[in-house]
Amino acid sequence: MDSMTIIAVASIVIAGITTGFGTMGPALAEGRAVATALTSLAQQPDASATITRTLFVGLAMIESTAIYCFVISMILIFANPFWNHVIAQTAAK
């Protein structure tokens, strides 16, 4: 395997693993957050405005970790700096 193949294989495999494992934690966390919010909504419907707002802000915070993983996968697949470097080197030869 030359270096181009190694870089391509490593990028693709790692992109999949990044999104796969990176969304696991946020998914569990969001599930817990929503479940707790629903419980407190059922107990205190009067406080629904505050609970909903805090829930949305918290969900966005949690979700951003999954988004970071997604951004890294997208960079690995569509804008890979190592890949571009190798391509430039091969073209220069």
Partner: protein
């Protein structure tokens, strides 16, 4: 496949490029500014009012109420900044229903610029409210040991603000583009509708987080002044 609308270039002269991000940002600014000027040209205070004035009043009072609920005491003062952030991000994602439009918030440059505005505005509002010494003291809030962490959090939350908006907008466009090549008819429409919802939620979150940061920078001046008589008490606002 494109990662951002930066790569669509309409016009180029030397190193001056006019890409899709800039063009659509200008178009949005024009629509928002001209629209609100047209609406506010003939305002009425009576019972008879145009439907556009009603719309604008609902939007403005809604934003003001949300800002007030976060904990900022004087919402009108922050309405210009936070309301503009919300309206721009919301309009940028709502316009994705127009064919051929690429949302400018799907480019990292736009979102970094918006996040930098928040990064600059938070200390400005904080200093205006508590004075320079009072604001700088808030960096050593629990103890002096927390000083480096407070500074790190200031930078990292700006980064998170930018990457969160960019990631959400870019992932929406990317998923629609991928689905168009797999299942061209039904699912892209569903994902576009979901993208509209995500866009509105992200606009809300962006402005609410900015409001929370400003509230954190302007808050707690009264207990701080009581605990520490050396702190410069801010003039009452």
């Amino acid at each position: 496949m494109r990662l951002s609308p930066d790569e669509i270039i309409f016009w180029q002269y030397g190193f001056l490029k006019l890409n899709a991000t800039i063009v659509y940002t200008w178009a949005l600014m024009l629509v928002l500014a001209a629209g609100s000027m047209l609406v506010t040209r003939r305002l009425s205070t009576g019972q008879e009012r145009s439907r556009w004035q009603n719309l604008l009043e609902i939007v403005v009072t809604g934003i003001e109420k949300q800002i007030g609920e976060v904990g900022l005491r004087n919402p009108k003062k922050y309405l210009g900044f936070l309301g503009t952030l919300f309206l721009f991000v919301a309009a940028a994602s709502l316009c994705t229903v127009i064919p051929g439009y690429e949302t400018p918030t799907g480019s990292l440059s736009t979102t970094v610029a918006l996040a930098l505005c928040v990064f600059v505005a938070v200390p400005l509002f904080g200093i205006e409210d508590r004075g320079l010494a009072g604001y700088l003291e808030s960096y050593m809030e629990p103890t002096v040991l927390m000083l480096p962490f407070n500074i790190i959090s200031e930078v990292s939350r700006t980064l998170a603000l930018a990457v969160r908006l960019f990631g959400n907008m870019m992932s929406g466009a990317m998923i629609i583009a991928i689905l168009l090549s797999i299942t061209p008819f039904v699912f892209p429409v569903v994902m576009t509708a979901l993208g509209l919802l995500t866009g509105m939620v992200q606009a809300y979150i962006f402005s609410i987080l900015a409001a929370v940061y400003i509230a954190a920078a302007t808050r707690t001046r009264k207990p701080a002044a009581k605990d520490d008589p050396g702190a410069e008490p801010a003039p009452g606002t």
